[in-house]
């Protein structure tokens, strides 16, 4: 199985050698992705660039900033272990560097989310793992950790 779970049953990523640098970056509060010298950043982590299939990419830190491309508010919590967090917003975030990534939005009233909302990566430590969410962008560069609701 490609997941690990907390004691409460919350699903967590199970990294592999190809994806580990992304999660190492998250632990350092960096949104680290692969960049192809010809085609730019891509996500999720792969052995080769999904445009040219080249393998001469490098890991680089993105800005961690982007905007909500689309979103929904999950009112029931489709993942049983996340049910108590419902309603929560899930968004496809388009990063300034181009790639899209889907994550929960935290530190936000789910009913106030709109397409185009400026967001930034937000990191949550869960045991040995660090997972990436997004939150409304703020001018502060060292904002506090994520909402306790997601601990």
């Amino acid at each position: 199985m490609g997941l690990q779970h907390t004691e409460s049953g919350r699903p967590l990523p199970l990294p592999n050698p190809t994806t580990q640098p992304y999660f190492d970056g998250a632990k350092e509060r960096k949104l680290r992705m692969q960049r192809c010298p010809r085609d730019g950043f891509f996500f999720y982590p792969r052995s080769r660039c999904p445009v040219c299939l080249g393998d001469d990419w490098s890991w680089e830190d993105t800005s961690g900033r982007g905007s909500v491309h689309s979103f929904t508010v999950d009112r029931i919590g489709h993942v049983p272990a996340l049910r108590e967090l419902a309603p929560f917003a899930i968004a496809i975030v388009e990063l300034e560097e181009g790639p899209r990534i889907t994550a929960r939005l935290v530190d936000v009233d789910a009913d106030s989310v709109e397409v185009g909302l400026a967001v930034e990566a937000s990191y949550e430590d869960v045991g040995d793992m660090t997972v990436v969410h997004f939150r409304p962008a703020s001018s502060a560069t060292s904002a506090p950790a994520t909402s306790p609701a997601f601990a």
Binding site: M1, G2, L3, R10, P11, L12, P13, L14, P15, N16, T19, Y44, H69, S70, F71, T72, V73, D74, R75, I76, G77, H78, V79, L82, F88, I90, A91, I92, R100, I101, T102, A103, R104, E114, V115, G116, V131, H133
Partner: protein, 397 residues
């Protein structure tokens, strides 16, 4: 005369049920569907030399040969199709193409979705809906980047298509509700529909529980058990069958992604390419279509499919749905069986229901919902998160 040379000559479709009260193995269900569809077409089992399945639970590997062995059929063509909701349509064109190139002559296309008996001594348990949809396999991107964030099942993904649409073009939620209401209207004429005798109103949809904004409970299909099958053969053999043969006169398939996150464009869906290819192959015009049978896992799926399949322009879906009646007796009949929104979604048989209904209409077997004119049908399937889509053009002989 259609340019292509494979015909659908028989069908079988089981009444969807929320709880399957006659447990049978998937292999047993394949055998029953095969017997029924052969009887419907009046074709002898000995003539069957092609076989397409969508998965055999008792044989996760070697599915087609497991089913062929169980049925005692020696195949010249044995195929397994894995395209989610587009599976049934994908199976049909593969069978048609195999017949056209001479790989086989008579081909079973079988989509059972049933509950197996429980092992002797084991406590019965309900079958769980697989909300991770296989995304929890070791190494899966979904398992690492999406499931932990709550993006599972299908509703959140299609809800994000709808939100993007609303932000881009504007869309009244009542328009989506109308799609659900007219599907139910059609289901009132289909005794097999799970929502037969249960009509709904726009208000019912609008007042139903919000599940994933903007999609409400009555805009979402009901998962069921069931089964459906069709039989294809050559036009020569079709002459010996009791029903009007239905030509598969065009088909197209296109796939661009798996997760909605990586869709190139949430509002420019693969069906655009698939439908263009299907209409071009058939040499048919969209204006000549007598009925459409479009995959409707959610209301928004129908609206964006009408646009992307080219029946109206981009951003004009709301106007189209508002200005046309999608009822069986309306000016633009859509999903005359009630769609899956009205009939229920019985696994891959749910996707097959769009094809069987078009076949039924073209054969003149649609009973109290029979269209006055049914010669050309547009059918499509949508798999995954608007990811893999198949378009078919059916033409009555």
């Amino acid at each position: 005369m259609p340019k292509r040379s494979a015909t659908i000559v028989g069908l079988s479709e089981w009444t969807p049920k929320r709880v399957w009260d006659e447990p049978m193995f998937s292999l047993e269900a394949h055998a029953r569907l095969a017997a029924e569809v052969l009887e419907d077409a009046g074709i002898d089992k000995a003539e069957v030399d092609g076989f397409v399945v969508s998965g055999v639970y008792e044989s996760p590997m070697f599915g087609p040969s497991a089913a062929a062995e169980y049925l005692g059929i020696h195949t010249n063509f044995a195929e397994l199709v894995d395209l989610g909701g587009a599976t049934a349509c994908g199976m049909i064109w593969r069978a048609a193409a195999a017949i056209e190139v001479g790989a086989c002559e008579t081909c079973l296309v079988l989509c059972p979705s049933v509950t197996p008996p429980f092992p002797t001594g084991a406590a019965p348990r309900k079958m769980d809906f697989p909300i991770y949809l296989g995304g929890d396999a070791w190494g899966s991107p979904q398992g690492q980047f999406e499931i932990p964030e709550g993006l599972v099942a299908a509703t959140p993904s299609f809800a994000m298509v709808a939100q993007r649409y609303m932000a881009r073009y504007g869309l009244r939620e009542e328009t989506l509700a109308k799609i659900a209401v007219e599907a139910r209207d059609n289901a009132q004429r289909n005794p097999q529909a799970i929502f037969h005798d249960k009509p709904i109103t726009i208000d019912d949809v609008m007042n139903s529980r919000m599940v994933c904004d903007p999609l409400k409970l009555l805009e979402i299909v009901m998962p069921c058990f069931g089964g459906a099958a069709v039989l294809l053969t050559t036009p020569e053999r079709a002459k010996r069958t009791p029903h009007r043969p239905v030509y598969v006169s065009g088909f197209g398939e296109h796939c661009t992604h798996k997760s909605i996150t990586y869709a190139p464009d949430l509002l420019d869906n693969p069906i655009r390419v698939a439908a263009d290819r299907a209409f071009a192959m058939a040499g048919a015009e969209r204006s000549a279509v007598d009925m459409a049978s479009m995959y409707d896992c959610f209301t928004i799926t129908v609206l964006v499919t009408i646009e992307n399949a080219g029946f109206c322009g981009k951003g004009e879906g709301e106007k189209f749905v508002s200005e046309h009646s999608l009822r069986w007796d309306g000016d633009w009949p859509l999903n005359t069986h009630g769609g899956q929104l009205g009939m229920g979604q019985a696994g891959t048989a749910g996707g097959m229901s769009h094809a069987t209904e078009a076949v039924r209409q073209l054969m003149g077997r649609a009973g109290e919902r029979q269209l006055a004119k049914a010669d050309l049908a547009y059918v499509n399937g949508t798999g995954g998160m608007m990811a893999e889509q198949v378009a078919l053009i059916f033409e009555g002989a």
